[in-house]
């Protein structure tokens, strides 16, 4: 305020400065609450709190924080509300303080401000005017009345409003312009108070108060709505909330879940929202262009249900409830799955009908059971890739589904299987991703597809490999081909071949190596391994010939040869795959769910109104300069002319004001033209910007 006080005090010496007042206790409070130091402290506190809230990811499950910080810090952080900084009590207190402080400031400033707007202050003396930084004097020949008339003309033309007081000795003119600037101060600060009040009305304060009063209790379990106890239900009358709900196609909901700390509350709606259909529009790249939901609002207050389609950026505002398209998810897609045993039974698949979010028990060939939990279904997978020319390209991988396969103890890995084979370096594979936890990346199992893009050949190959009789037959055949010199040698080779094939079937190369290690002394191991590998591969090759023969394939091209290598790699990898089945998606009936965000924000209008005040205020503050001018005109002691003192001040832009004052002096006192303003200071630039 330093500049402003100069405006009023310098001219009059009137006691607007705080120091000249005798402090009373209430005055001290007002001073403290409205003080700049407090305001800056609060602003900084707010900024630091905001930084914390962005660095520490907010609203995560508490178990995750516990893992990240350990029990000790977790306890402290949770106690300080750092996981929900912006709704923490202390944070709200800081904001409240800021509002109060700003209000006090406005309260304290307003009287002076009104005075600035209305009081022209004709009680000035020549001595005080001469003390101004911008001041000038002149001795004119002009009679006082003429001069005063002239001065008024200039002031008026220059946008000043002027008052005049004349007594016989002298005329005092007090003028001001840019009064709106003072209003700007009021608008910015009142605007901020209005915004904060509106935002407070839309926040979760009411719910928090009810929680303190014991009327509400946050639900932390994830259970069906029907099992949520009444203490976690919020009545229809709650004026403001913001929550979300997922509705599958064909289903409906009349509640919204409000996230609160580590749990949620259930907000009752006065109407029921039904989702008829959900659609995703895609760009040619496969990326989502837009998604939309056909909603039907069933409201007992209405005669007819209301039909409306919402999409991203185009919500439905219904009776003060805003319904937004926020996200989408699977709504329980029906999946027809063939569980293909990865062993001797490979040709005998089990039908496993399932639904996303359901669990199904599957009997394994060895008499055990596993439980498959269907986690998600994706109707379209687009992977951006760089092609050989280095251009961006999108690969469409088609539908996929995610699941978890658990043993009896509930342990198991996470999988993602694709329905259709995908092209990978020139050949087609069925992909199955596997990972330990959803946080990890998938590792992929590549099952080679055959010429019909099916898994039939692989299944046959696998089944035969696991069949002891087949192995024996193939082994004998291979041993014969090897051309062993004697019957015994041939039998031994056949024996070894069959065994190696069994080891490989059971545990891939790892088992083969283990067996070799356990039987062959270290010195001979290297040579033996090489030999054994040759034998094993000859066996596998023989097996493959058999498979091809059954298929009726006669000539073997590079393509067929590659298939064998892929199949062998796949079988080798199966031991790490940790599933007795490959689950193949045969068919599906897609059902989506729309994620709606529903909000009631009665303070929104208030916040917008406050924002407009704030913006208007800022522009007035910055771009209108408040200027005051005083002129004292007295009859000259030495004759008929007029003695003039003139002074002025502005609350900002001292440099510009001094330039302007010089012009005013030239017009008013010197009564000469300033000359056409230079281009640089031209007609357009006479702003403060």
């Amino acid at each position: 305020m330093a500049d402003n006080e100069q405006v009023a005090d310098a001219a009059t010496g009137d006691g607007r400065t705080r120091a000249s007042r005798k402090p009373r206790r209430s005055r001290i409070l007002v001073d403290f609450m409205g003080s700049m130091n407090l305001a800056i402290t609060l602003l900084v506190a707010l900024a630091i709190a905001s930084v914390i809230g962005t660095v520490l990811v907010q609203n995560q499950p508490y178990t995750e924080y516990l893992m990240d910080f350990g029990p000790f810090w977790h306890e402290i952080f949770a106690g300080m509300g750092l996981y929900q900084v912006y709704s923490a009590t202390w944070f709200l207190l800081v904001v409240a303080f800021l509002v109060v402080s700003t209000s006090f400031c406005v309260y304290r400033q307003t009287p002076g401000l009104l005075k600035d707007l209305r009081r022209y202050n004709l009680q000035v003396r020549e001595k005080s005017l001469r003390a101004f930084k911008a001041s000038a004097t002149g001795e004119l020949d002009q009679p006082r009345d003429d001069f005063v008339q002239h001065a008024h003309r200039v002031l008026k033309a220059q946008g000043f409003r002027a008052r005049e007081k004349t007594n016989d000795g002298e005329t005092v003119i007090a003028a001001m312009r840019g009064r709106w600037n003072r209003l700007g101060y009021l608008l910015t600060h009142v605007g901020i108070v209005v915004i904060c009040v509106g935002a407070l009305a839309d926040g979760t304060t009411l719910l928090k108060v009810n929680e303190w009063l014991g009327k509400l209790e946050i639900e932390t379990r994830s259970v069906p709505v029907s099992e949520v106890p009444p203490s976690a239900w919020v009545s229809v009358n709650n004026p403001s909330f913001r929550g979300s709900v997922e509705i599958p196609e064909g289903a409906s909901a009349d509640v919204v879940f409000l996230p609160m700390r580590d749990g949620y509350l259930v907000q009752q709606l006065p109407f029921r929202i039904e989702l008829e259909e959900f659609r995703i529009e895609r760009f040619s790249t496969g990326a989502e262009q837009s998604y939309e939901s056909d909603l039907v609002i069933h409201d007992p207050e209405r005669e007819e249900p209301l039909r409306h389609t919402i999409s991203v950026n185009y919500p439905l505002i219904y009776n003060g409830y805003a319904i937004f398209q926020a996200s989408f998810a699977d709504g329980g897609t029906q999946l027809d799955i063939a569980a293909i045993p990865l062993g001797a039974e490979a040709l005998r698949a089990l039908d496993v009908p399932g639904r996303v979010f359901q669990e199904v028990e599957v009997p394994t060939p060895d008499g055990d059971t596993r439980t498959i939990e269907f986690i998600n279904f994706q109707s379209e997978n687009v992977v951006p890739l760089l092609n050989e020319e280095g251009e961006r390209e999108n690969r469409h991988l088609g539908p996929s589904f995610d699941f978890r396969l658990m043993d009896r103890t509930g342990h198991g890995l996470y999988y993602r299987n694709y329905m259709r084979p995908a092209l990978q370096e020139g050949a087609m594979y069925f992909l199955s991703g596997v990972r330990q936890s959803p946080a990890e990346e998938f590792s992929y199992l590549f099952l080679p597809a055959d010429a019909d893009d099916s898994l039939d050949r692989f299944r046959t190959f696998l089944a035969m490999l696991h069949n002891a009789e087949v192995r024996q037959a193939i082994a004998r055949q291979v041993a014969g081909n090897e051309g062993a010199s004697d019957e015994q040698g041939s039998a031994a080779i056949a024996q070894t071949t069959a065994e190696l094939m069994r080891f490989f079937a059971e545990g891939g190369y790892a088992t083969v190596h283990r067996e070799i290690e356990s039987r062959v002394p270290e010195e001979q191991r290297e040579r033996a391994t090489e030999l054994m590998m040759n034998i094993l591969h000859a066996g596998l090759q023989g097996l493959y010939m058999e498979v091809l023969q059954e298929e009726g394939v006669v000539s073997i091209q590079a393509e067929e040869q590659r298939w064998l290598e892929d199949a062998v790699s796949a079988i080798n990898a199966i031991s790490l795959y940790d599933s007795p089945f490959y689950f193949h998606l045969e068919d599906f009936e897609h059902r989506e769910a729309s994620g709606l965000q529903i909000a009631r924000a009665p303070g929104q209008g208030t916040v917008y109104f406050g924002s407009v005040m704030l913006i208007a205020g800022i522009f007035l503050l910055f771009y209108v300069s408040y200027q005051r001018l005083w002129i004292i005109a007295r009859r000259r002691v030495d004759g008929d002319g007029t003695h003039v003192v003139m002074a002025g001040t502005s609350n900002r832009h001292q440099v510009e004001f001094e330039k302007r004052f010089a012009h005013l002096k030239r017009w008013i006192i010197d009564q000469k033209p300033v000359g056409s303003p230079t281009d640089h200071d031209g007609p357009h630039s006479n702003k403060n910007a």
């Binding site: 900024a47 040619s284 357009h684 910007a689």
Partner: protein
């Protein structure tokens, strides 16, 4: 009575009376642009498009009246952009065969020219700082004009290019980091040129152009290492007309803050030189502390005003796209932090009359906060503003 008052020039003619013929001609041209655009494409425009057109044309007319150089600038940029668009015709492939498109008219070419000229401008301004003559700085200003023009043209042509890629992708090119960096460089250069012209103080350019050159460097790195210039369709939430006003408004703010910070650097250097080498030529080459302080304030003021508007617009957009005007999303929160910082800065100046090195340092710190809000949030923090990740 020396002079009859009629002969004095204190009667200020109104704003419109001060306009010259060329100003009216420019206004008429803008009107013509609006009318022709409506005539040609009006049937394809909804009321928001029409509103946007009128707003854009009106703003341009007003800017041209307020600041004459804008008239020439906008006409040249507009003509070049139209030339590029015309060369394209209906096919993006023209880019590969047409010499003019390849080297002048395409968005990519525009960005390269912008980079070249803004770098050259930086060098020229730096030379101007250390030489006795004004000439290098004048060259710097000319290059800065060309650079800003090339960047603006590049954005306009890119706008068309996006539609040529696929009409269903169409969006205004202020949606990803690549595009907003072009916007930042061009916008900041223009804002600086305005201040240079209004103050007549050219040596400020050596400082301001440094930050612009830095942003160009980032842009080039981003383009070459991440293929950032390739056009991708928008995520659904960004497909909103709010973006058209929210993003450019924000960048007036960023531009203002960046200029203020660099003038803060100049201020500190001059402050130091005045004590250590008061008579050195370089000390006198620098603008006075008063001039620097004044422009620093003005840049922060305009930045703050627009940043406030941008934040409010962002809140309104969020209310439509995410279901709430304020979600404490990291980007929003950092906008608030930046805003609070400059609010505190302005209070210190207004109420305590603070000037000098402290305020200069503070303006520099402000730029770090701003940069984090602009870039750091996208790089380090997750949130709803997920576009333009590095």
């Amino acid at each position: 009575m020396s002079v009859p008052h009629e002969a004095l020039d204190f009667e200020r003619p109104g704003f419109f009376r001060q306009l010259h013929l060329r100003d009216w001609a420019y206004g008429a041209l803008m009107l013509a642009v609006a009318v022709i655009s409506l005539g040609l494409y009006g049937e394809h425009m909804d009321r928001y498009d029409i509103g946007g057109l009128i707003l854009a044309v009106g703003t341009s007319a007003w800017l041209g009246w307020f600041w004459r150089p804008w008239q020439v600038f906008s006409i040249v940029v507009g003509a070049l952009a139209l030339f590029g668009i015309w060369l394209y015709g209906d096919s993006l492939a023209a880019n590969e065969t047409n010499f003019w498109l390849n080297y002048i008219g395409s968005g990519q070419a525009g960005v390269m020219w912008m980079s070249v000229f803004l770098y050259l401008s930086t060098v020229a301004y730096l030379a101007g700082l250390f030489s006795q003559s004004d000439f290098p700085s004048r060259v710097g200003a000319a290059f800065a004009w060309i650079g800003a023009g090339a960047g603006s043209m590049a954005l306009l042509v890119r706008w068309r290019e996006i539609y040529l890629h696929d009409p269903s992708w169409g969006y205004i090119p202020v949606a990803n980091l690549y595009e907003v960096f072009i916007l930042f460089a061009a916008m900041t250069a223009l804002m600086y040129l305005y201040y240079e012209q209004r103050t007549g103080s050219r040596t400020m350019g050596a400082f301001v152009m440094l930050i612009i050159a830095a942003s160009v460097t980032f842009l080039l790195w981003y383009m070459f290492s991440r293929e950032a210039h390739l056009v991708e369709p928008l995520v659904p939430a960004l497909n909103s007309w709010w973006m058209k006003i929210h993003v450019p408004t924000n960048f007036v703010g960023y531009g203002g803050f960046a200029i203020a910070a660099m003038l803060g650097v100049a201020f500190l250097i001059r402050h130091r030189l005045e004590r250590t080498r008061p008579d050195a030529a370089i000390t006198r080459r620098l603008p006075t502390k008063d001039a620097l302080d004044s422009v620093m304030y003005k840049a922060i003021a305009i930045g703050f005003a627009f940043f406030t508007i941008a934040t409010v617009l962002g809140a309104m957009w969020a209310a439509e796209a995410w279901g709430g005007y304020w979600s404490w999303d990291p980007k929003e929160t950092w906008a608030l932090i930046v805003w609070l910082n400059y609010a505190a800065w302005l209070h210190m100046r207004f109420t305590k009359g603070w000037r000098g090195p402290t305020m200069a340092w503070w303006a520099i710190v402000g730029l770090f906060l701003t940069t984090f809000a602009f870039l750091g949030v996208n790089m380090f923090l997750s949130g709803l503003h997920s576009y333009g990740e590095l």
